[in-house]
Symmetry: C2
Subunit: 140 residues, 2 copies
DNA sequence: TTTTATTTTGCAACTTTGTTGCAAAGTGCT
DNA sequence: AGCACTTTGCAACAAAGTTGCAAAATAAAA
């Protein structure tokens, strides 16, 4: 795990620092997406709030994580797949937010539906956020 | 216009006040969705910031406007259709954000695609936000 | 390994955004 | 007009995010 994390950073031409390693590990260990507040909670007093902001921003720019829009106006982040690179994301998947446990999942194997836009409108990106009950919470 | 605005408020059992009338008019006059900041700008020093927050919240609760999640983490609001009521929204339409002019449109006549979720997942709501170039900005 | 150059971090100070309690003003009703 | 009730504006606060800069850490060079 230490290895894959350090290698990801190097591949993105980022210096390998404690905060970056730790924050990236949080993403690898987490089932769902993480918000700034989650990381702050997970890391305790270990890093400054500002460092977390800057690290997340850097990771997004480098194509290591992507941000997920949610209806409650709190940005969450999740790991990108390998085909994302600096300044160029290819995260063509939908997101599912569980109303019960609050987890945000990236559903990589669900194809994004093709929406029919009015004449003259050109689509560049389609974000789909489905909310409901996830697999675990439904089986309780 | 004054009439339709006042009647909407009365139908929702809201007292008709200057701020509510004015803010509701902004929505009727606007092509796209409005954020809190837009209304603050439009109204100048006319109302307190807090009043705008509370008015938007009340309008959402009463089913007069609905909120639209955006990827830049700024909530925008747009008028609901007639079938929304207190505590119960029926805004089954997709949203389009123009990358050029920034306008957020409600596309009422585009049907929401049915996404195929993994086994065990149950969908309650589907938000679709398409971004790209709108009709006007494409024809320049 | 030590030195040097570059990058990153933490701190402080600040801005922006959103919330809450409460008295004053406004609205609806008789 | 008078009264009950709701809404507004203000102030004070809390939370979220940004910026500049010196100190610390990392990477590259010697
Ligand atoms: Mn994702
Ligand atoms: Mn809409
Ligand atoms: Zn769940
Ligand atoms: Zn446009």
């Amino acid at each position: 795990m230490q290895n894959i994390v350090a290698e990801t950073l190097k591949r993105s031409q980022l210096s390998v620092t404690d905060s970056r390693k730790k924050i990236l590990e949080y993403f690898h260990h987490s089932k769902g997406a993480l918000a700034h507040a989650d990381i702050e909670r997970l890391s305790g007093e270990q890093f400054d709030r500002v460092t977390i902001y800057r690290t997340l921003q850097t990771f997004v720019e480098k194509g290591i994580i992507h941000s997920i829009p949610t209806s409650d106006n709190s940005i969450r982040y999740a790991l990108c797949k390998d085909d994302c690179a600096e300044g160029h994301h290819h995260d063509n998947h939908i997101h599912f937010v569980c109303d019960v446990c609050g987890t945000t999942f990236c559903l990589d194997h669900v194809t994004i539906p093709n929406v029919q836009l009015p004449a003259g409108f050109k689509s560049k990106q389609t974000d789909v956020i489905v909310s409901g009950i996830c697999g675990k919470c439904g089986n309780i």
